[in-house]
Amino acid sequence: MSRASMLAARLLLLALALGLWEALPRLGWVDDEILPPFSAVFVTALQLLQRPAIHGDLVTTGLQLGAALIISVPTGVLLGILLAENKRLAQVCEPLLYFLFSVPKSIFLPLFILTLGISFWQKVAFGCFSTILIVLMSATAAVRSVREEHVLTARSYGATRAQITRHVYLPSMLPVLLEALRLAVIFSTTAVVLAEMYASRSGIGQQIASWGESFMMRQLFAGVLIVSVTAIVINEFIRWIENRCSHWRS
Amino acid sequence: MKQALSERAVTERPMIEVIGLGHTYESRGVASRALEDIALTVQAGRFTVIVGPSGCGKSSLLMMMAGLRRQTEGTILVDGRPMLDPDPDRVGVVFQDANLFPWLSAIDNVAFPLMLRGLGRSERLDRASAMLELVGLGHAGARYPSELSGGMKQRVSIARGLVQDPPVLLMDEPFAALDEQTRMTMGEELLRIWSQTSKTVVFVTHSLSEAVYLADEVLVMSAHPGRIIDRIEVELPRPRTYEMMATATFGQLRDRIWRQIRSPQPGNPA
């Protein structure tokens, strides 16, 4: 199958899923109090997006997410490079990090509330905590993915340190780092939204939780739709950049 | 036993007949001619070696003889009947990689084809251990593939190819992944096994010395499309020895094959 027909097939699949979502309540097979039809949810989402209160929530969530990423990604990358460059440190720390990496982060959320209270920075801190390890481990992997032969070849042609960094390290590491960024966005989105749903006064996660509690199904589904579409769009955008930067990889 | 088998050439009977075979691969709408006008006959009990440049269609031809791939034109008869599907009663196959099942011990790997046919466990193991004995691995039946060397794995693979006692054994570069020394001893071993079992063997290789050392007859192929451009009868006496490789006859045969393969045009029909 060609790329175009593949894409067409996927769109068809999407249309089918949405059509089913629309048809089930409309044909009365499912109560529309339980599953509001897609069109109604879509309209609700558009209406919600015009409300200043929702803007406030989205901005809050976005700021928390942004702050978490701005702190955790550079820190994680630096620590990861340090770890990759320092063999002794890696020997000691890697098993520990690997263990921490596989530990579920969400169960620590109550501790962040106990120490930082229910606040903006509590969510940022939890976001960083959930994200930093994946970034760190990816950065280590990125440094290790730079092939010794390539560095040697560059040196044998008299490349300076700066040139090696620019022309060997960066292009080899960039795709892995972008992948790390993508995962970081996924992880910290989940973390921030979860923290908002758990205990918060604002943010889209808090809104979704309260719509759920008061059985406002249209708003609830609209909120889920907004969050999902945003997450997918951001994810695809980073993936698109990733592909552009790593076209030479097969 | 050896005495009786050295007379195998006396009972002339075609075991493999390939008639007017051609093959065109088609991938994504692009057709490419892989084999053209292949005709050959292998007498029962003969050792035939196929050589030719990379991509000339040796593996394809072997796959068709094994019934693993259907040719687009022509007929293949094994033991007088067409080869349309794999038939372990007539043909055993040994590949370049031993392809042993990693979750089975050596003896269970050898017994695998018998298991497929529903033989009882004790009979399976008896026959499999006899085969392992034949390839010199009677002691290693309980070991798993990951505990065997490359040469040992390939021996297990050969034992597996022989366990159903098919009259024909097809071997596609079976020793290509081995180092030179192992390869030499494996060649000797194979000839010993062959002389003890009276199989008809078709053997693909890239090594010219191996070809001359093993073969009764060498078929030389050319590429684009794959044709048979020469048949060379190797009239060195058997049993073959390592010393024969230094003789003038051996060198001449080797030379002749090399010149055929190197020639840019396939304008040299046999």
Binding site: S102, P104, L114, I186, G205, W211, G212 | F95, N99, Y144
Partner: protein, 256 residues
């Protein structure tokens, strides 16, 4: 000193600090109750915690059946049918970006605040990673083995039974391991959000009354559960892959 000795040392120092810092008043007891106090509370209240743990475990077990049953089946399908894979794998990895936790309120609205919602959410939470892991594992099955089996006259069902199935076992176990870790997280998270029983519920209730020692006990229990499960699965994996040097690419559970 050897790296592992240093690690033990670090662990030891952390435990000592855990005891000393709160006792010395350098860290508020609310943030970090002393280790001994935490243990004392765990022993005193063991029955409450055990009951909550039993609830969580039973729900996780049911969710594991759904998540892994579905994930392994769908993954095997995607892994073995190239066309389907090309069509759907990008879709699945796009969906992976969605923070699934936003769906939990939908489940509680549908099924109420009980086991059903938790099981539904945890199943979904474990489903996609299990699917992706299985699909990747199935793809690593050596196609040559199938050709070899065919050359021995194996029928399709024989090839499935004697080649694909045994070759897939390590993948299946790895998927169970990943899925198991994820469904536990899924159940605990949903208990923390809205529920009326289970270890996550306990953690949240103690958190709202600022009972730090019991919050810590709850968290430690969940960690312990995860570690034990991982250990058990690893033993199983080891037993099943004894003779295969590099059967399945290792994947760490991306637990959030």
């Amino acid at each position: 000193m050897s790296p592992s000795a240093i690690r033990w040392l670090i662990g030891g120092i952390l435990l000592v600090l855990w005891e000393v810092l709160p006792r010395a008043g350098l860290v508020p007891q609310l943030f970090l109750p002393a280790l001994s106090q935490t243990i004392a509370v765990a022993i005193a209240d063991w029955r409450i915690f055990a009951e909550a743990l039993a609830v969580t475990l039973s729900e996780a077990a049911v969710a594991l059946v759904f998540a892994c049953g579905g994930g392994i089946l769908a993954g095997a399908l995607l892994g073995s049918v190239a066309r389907l894979r090309g069509l759907l794998l990008p879709v699945v990895s796009s969906l992976y970006a969605v923070p699934l936790v936003v769906l939990y309120p939908v489940f509680t609205a549908w099924f109420g605040i009980g086991a059903q919602s938790k099981i539904a959410f945890a199943s979904l939470y474990g489903f996609f990673p299990t699917l992706l892991g299985t699909a990747a594992g199935i793809q690593t099955i050596d196609a040559q083995l199938l050709v070899t089996a065919r050359s021995m006259g194996a029928t399709l069902s024989q090839r499935l039974r004697h080649v694909v199935l045994p070759a897939a076992i390590p993948t299946v176990i790895a998927s169970l391991r990943l899925g198991g870790a994820l469904v536990i997280v899924g159940v605990v998270v949903s208990e923390m959000l809205t529920s009326s029983a289970g270890i996550g519920y306990l953690i949240t209730s103690y958190r709202t009354v600022l009972d730090s020692p019991r919050v810590y006990v709850g968290i430690l229990l969940v960690l312990l559960l995860g570690v034990l499960l991982d250990l058990g699965m690893r033993l199983l994996e080891h037993a099943a892959t004894r003779h295969r040097p590099s059967a399945v690419p290792r994947r760490a559970a991306p637990a959030i």
